[in-house]
Amino acid sequence: MLTLNPVFAALSLIAALILRLIVQGGRPQIKAILRAALFMALITVLNPVFSHHGVTVLFFLNDLPITREAILYGAYMSAAIMAVVLWCGVLSSCMTSDKVIHLVGRAFPHLAVLISLTLRFIPLFKERFKGIIDAQRAAGVNDETTMIKKLSFYIKAFSALVTMILEDSIDTSDSMKARGITLSGRTSYSDFSFHFDDAVVLALVLSSAAYLMISGAAGFVDLSFYPVITPLPVSVKALAAYAAFGVIAFIPAAKEVIAWRHSRLRA
């Protein structure tokens, strides 16, 4: 099932990058992209130092072979890891708690509440922590001259944060109880409905995923890096699998582009 085909990694990376640029804007992303490129270069360089598998020896380092296969595998792996990181970033900025509740709320109501609370609390705590530190600094009670004093300042701020969180959670639970979270027959508000175009996209995604699973199981797209890099599969079946993956990967970006174009026309 798991394939090492670099086409998928490349498609996934490109699609995630484009989507991230659309969702979070271009300018502030340049630094993040540079950091990602540096991380990828580091993995590409480090993999051949630890893995000496491969038939094409480029040179020897400390008596052990540095191979082309290991370098290319490092490049592939770094692209795959970076794609996952980018997708997670996009997910966290797109997947708001009301969407989570809408998706899993009916089947697992308790789990959905928990997830949505967690999703809310992480940025909230970050904000609160920054607020505490800003307040301390503004009051002039901070002493950050040495490493140890700085650390103790942050520990104090953290302890204040914990107190604040505990009070917050009591407030939250009181508020939830007051609004009837414990009553039976409770329904949750949802802003989403299932339209014809949703059905089209769902069918597209499901059929693409099904074809990908079949081609993965049947080995249409198999490729291995070690010990010899096997040629990239370019049969019609393999090309269809790349296209199917492209459909899944590029649907979110395409949706954003189409939605924005329509909204501009209407305005």
Binding site: H52, V55, F59, F60, N62, P65
Partner: protein, 180 residues
Amino acid sequence: MKRILAVTAAVLAALAAVFLLTFETVGDHYKETDTVISDASVTISVSCAELCGNGDVGKALRDSGLVPDDGVIIPETQYPISEGDTVFDVLRAVLKDNRIHFDYTDISDRSAYVKGINNIYEYDCSDISGWMYSVNGIFPTVASSEYTLSDGDVILWQYTCDLGRDVGDTYYTLHGSDAA
């Protein structure tokens, strides 16, 4: 302060790279060395015959073209040894002479572990596969770099797919797999 730290770290890393890393081109690595003149010699051979059957065992490796038809990577070879040479030293030297890929973990020259020979690696065949050595038909329970050779020893390196049971080691047959 931060800049000083960063510069110091960079300088230290560069020094470590210069002193701890040795670069060799492929030509330099496989350069002909002067033959050692010595009274003592051993016989060494390297084989992956266990992978040569027709079954599923080793099929992926056979397909990649790394397994010789008869499984012989190094045929029986006489090799001169000097005082204190270990099984690991001889293996490394013979593979270098024959320009064969060799990968190992070397814990400060104390107990080396052979990971791969000729791109055939540990775990390539199953979870309990890898390279084992025997000297005069006995499978020692020490690392190959801790076994000091004497004149006339016969070393056999074999690829096992079954914790040594398929190449003639009886340790796990007698003690059971739990003994690992």
